[in-house]
């Protein structure tokens, strides 16, 4: 654990102590991760969401903690950009598998929770061949919006920000162990994204090389 990470944990504990009496501490603890992102000291959102299987999960606890992960936003009624972006991300995972020892998890959060019920997302995943390690999440709009804002998939122009077609191309990739995060456009292409992912995970700059004995993306 790095020095800065330890400091964060201490800081987070202080914050929780300060919030007693205002909100249920357990609820607050669950809504945000105790660990923080390097540099900004921000605690990762950890809302209760629902997978395309209907399982209740916590975003940080179940998909980010101790791992390397890819996060993006999409919605099933999106045409053009979302399917193209998803194809790129799925291809990128394949490029990473030889070096990482597995395809890193891809978590797709919906921009259209009123329409994208778990079963709708389930059909969507199935229509793409249901690749292992790809999870679609839905939930309360406010929770999903908080994640979107946290990841900076936003535009300072409110009109552009309200246009959800503007947010379907970005991917956040993060290594929770190193506390390092990057955001890029899926339109940059599978290979450049895979190279960036490798570097973000601290695994060098080359996609060619030997595979580890265990899956590096899942904290092994």
């Amino acid at each position: 654990m790095s020095r800065s990470r330890r400091l964060f944990l201490a800081g987070a504990a202080t914050a929780l102590a300060c919030q007693k009496g205002k909100a249920d501490p357990a609820e607050t603890a669950a809504a945000f991760a105790e660990a923080v992102v390097a540099g900004s000291r921000r605690r990762f959102p950890n809302p209760l969401l629902t997978t395309h299987y209907g399982r209740r999960v916590r975003l940080y606890d179940d998909f980010v903690r101790g791992r390397f992960v890819l996060l993006n936003f999409a919605y099933t009624r999106c045409e053009g950009k979302c399917p193209r972006g998803l194809s790129t991300l799925l291809a990128m995972r394949k490029l990473l598998a030889p070096r990482m020892g597995c395809e890193p998890d891809l978590v797709t959060l919906t921009l259209d929770p009123e329409h994208d019920a778990p079963e709708v997302l389930g059909k969507y995943v199935a229509s793409r061949g249901a690749p292992a390690g790809w999870t679609c999440l839905t939930g309360a709009r406010s929770d999903l919006e908080a994640v979107r804002r946290f990841l900076g998939f936003t535009d300072p122009d409110p009109r552009v920000d309200a246009d959800r077609t503007q947010h379907g191309s970005l991917v956040a990739m993060g290594d929770d162990v190193r506390g390092r995060w990057q955001v890029a456009s899926a339109q940059a292409g599978a290979e450049p994204l895979a190279q960036l992912a490798l570097r973000t995970a601290g695994m060098g700059v080359s996609l060619s090389g030997t595979a580890p004995s265990a899956c590096r993306a899942r904290g092994a």
Binding site: P156, R178, S185, L196
Partner: protein, 528 residues
């Protein structure tokens, strides 16, 4: 000097006066501590300090070492100078009394300065002791692609690795027997350029001056036309933001452009500088990620502008105010001969968003007196035998690129799209060549701001470009000769001429709002 307290009610004007700025003002009085998220921009630096209690630091100078085995090859017979630099973490006192971890060249922030001479090549071994990839660009340098410090995968220095940068330091055109010393650069800088992470790398400290000199400048110094060291002072202006523990704040999810709320000169927050009553030369560099500066002197005397970006102008001009986009430089003389005992270098620009300042380049939002960045304490009587440079003093001639040399016209539109940054609708892909130019020719490039109120300073590698028209009109006098970074405010369009000499293969052009650059507002162009 008054001490700022959160409980004190300060006017917006006071906040500027004391260097807190608009973004910080909005949050004053709120509880400061670890926050899960914020709605109105990043949290203000929760550390208060009294400005002008620390002296302006002078960057150290890189010292040559004994020659070592290298793959660098030069066409000149001159014996190169060798340097070894370790990129590593270090501790800097940016805010008085506060220790901050930085990533620096030799662990220093700003990096030590190189002092290089045309005709003498340099070999610089850069050793990466950090845990991030790096690539070291020499901004204003004229270097082979492999030593330009480009964001290509095979050129990145991985953690634990090193790379030798081979700088020929030959006048542009040397390879064809037509060297043109009029294109010799003077005020360069070196900084990180690693793909997708240039923003955090530069922000944490990976930048320093790379100063060149040549016979022409030496004549100007020997004749006492220009002030010489120690009256020739590098001055890099940067903004930073801090966490409560003194560490640097940087949010990897913020891509509009990073803005700090603490203003550092040569790595020190709001320092003072003792000067004699004489002329001083300052190489002012905007080393910020996304903040622009509109500079004035508090005694309302003009700057004497010697140069723009890397190059001396044909003749010195007077400028009351100097606008600097990111990566732009102003080589200036400030004349303290008749100055009052205290003079402030102030930033009068109002900018509270990474998108850019308010207004446009022709009419930016300003507040006077603005934020004082450096306090000059002026001492003694006017000196005898001061440097003679004045308005109209001839400096470095310019060799214009003639319209009949132009063999092609290309347009590059810089636009925000889908939460990121594109050029002509495309993101940077190191394997895709977006322009192929013929070595030895010249082209007309139209650099166009794609709108949305965003500002983009556009940096073209390899050579200086010459601005022909800016929004259809002749460019401002300081921008009318050689530039390497042309600032596009909202709606702006620049027509530039550029030659492509000496070095074939791949180069890049990009926005120097580094967060935009990291989100791939960049394109590869090849000299073939």
């Amino acid at each position: 000097m008054r001490h700022i307290k959160a409980s004190t009610r300060l006017s917006r004007r006071d906040l500027w006066r004391f260097g807190i700025g608009i973004a910080g003002a909005a949050a004053l009085g709120k509880v400061v501590g670890p926050r899960p998220a914020w709605a109105d921009g990043p949290p203000p630096t929760p550390i208060r300090f009294t400005p002008f209690t620390r002296e302006l630091p002078m960057p150290a100078t890189h010292q040559p070492v004994a020659p070592f085995a290298t793959n660098c090859k030069f066409t000149t017979k001159a014996i190169p100078r060798f340097y070894v630099v370790h990129m590593k973490k270090g501790i800097a006192e940016i805010i008085p009394g506060v220790e901050t971890e930085i990533w620096g060249y030799n662990g220093q922030y700003p990096g030590p300065s190189f002092h290089s001479t045309f005709g003498t090549p340099d070999v610089v071994r850069q050793i990466n002791d950090l845990d991030v990839e790096t690539s070291i660009h020499l901004h204003s340098g004229h270097n082979p692609s492999a030593s330009d410090g480009l964001p290509f995968q095979d050129l990145l220095i991985p953690p634990g690795g090193f790379r030798d940068y081979c700088y020929p330091n030959q006048p542009v055109g040397f390879s064809t027997g037509e060297p043109d010393p009029n294109d010799n650069a003077t005020t360069g800088w070196y900084h990180d350029h690693a793909t997708d992470i240039t923003g955090p790398n530069v922000y944490h400290g990976l930048a320093g001056f790379f100063l060149f000199t040549d016979d022409l400048e030496q004549r100007l110094l020997a004749s006492n036309t220009l002030p010489a060291a120690p009256f020739d002072v590098p001055l890099v202006l940067q903004d930073r933001r801090f966490n409560a523990d003194g560490s640097l704040f940087y949010n990897p999810f913020e891509h509009d452009g990073f803005l700090g709320d603490v203003f550092a000169a040569n790595g020190k927050a709001q320092p003072f500088f003792r000067v004699q009553r004489r002329k001083y030369r300052f190489r002012i560099l905007n080393g910020a990620n996304a903040r622009m500066w509109f500079l004035r002197l508090s005694n309302d005397t003009p700057f004497l502008r010697l140069g723009t970006d890397g190059w001396l102008l044909p003749a010195a001009i007077a400028q009351n105010r100097i606008f600097l986009g990111m990566a732009e430089r102003a080589d200036v003389v400030i004349d303290f001969r008749n100055a009052p005992d205290t003079v402030f270098l102030e930033n009068i620009l109002v900018q509270d968003s990474g998108r850019g300042p308010g207004g446009d380049l022709q009419n930016p939002d300003t507040v006077v007196p603005g934020t004082p960045l450096v306090k000059f304490i002026v001492q003694g009587a006017p000196v005898a035998n001061d440097a003679t440079v004045t308005v109209g003093t001839l400096l470095r001639p310019n060799t214009p690129i003639a319209a009949n040399e132009i063999v092609a016209t290309r347009q590059f539109e810089f636009v925000r799209s889908e939460g990121a940054w594109q050029v002509n609708g495309l993101f940077f892909d190191e394997n895709r060549v977006d322009a192929r130019v013929r070595q030895g020719t010249a082209e007309r490039w139209i650099l166009k701001n794609g709108g949305g109120g965003w500002w983009h300073p556009i940096h073209l590698h390899l050579e200086a470009h010459q601005v022909q028209r800016f929004n259809g009109a002749p460019p401002a006098p300081q921008n009318a000769f050689k530039k390497d970074t042309t600032l596009l405010g909202p709606g702006d369009e620049a027509e530039v001429f550029m030659r492509f000499r000496d070095f074939p293969t791949r180069f890049v052009a990009h926005c120097h709002n580094i967060e935009h650059e990291d989100m791939r507002m960049m394109f590869r162009w090849d000299v073939v």
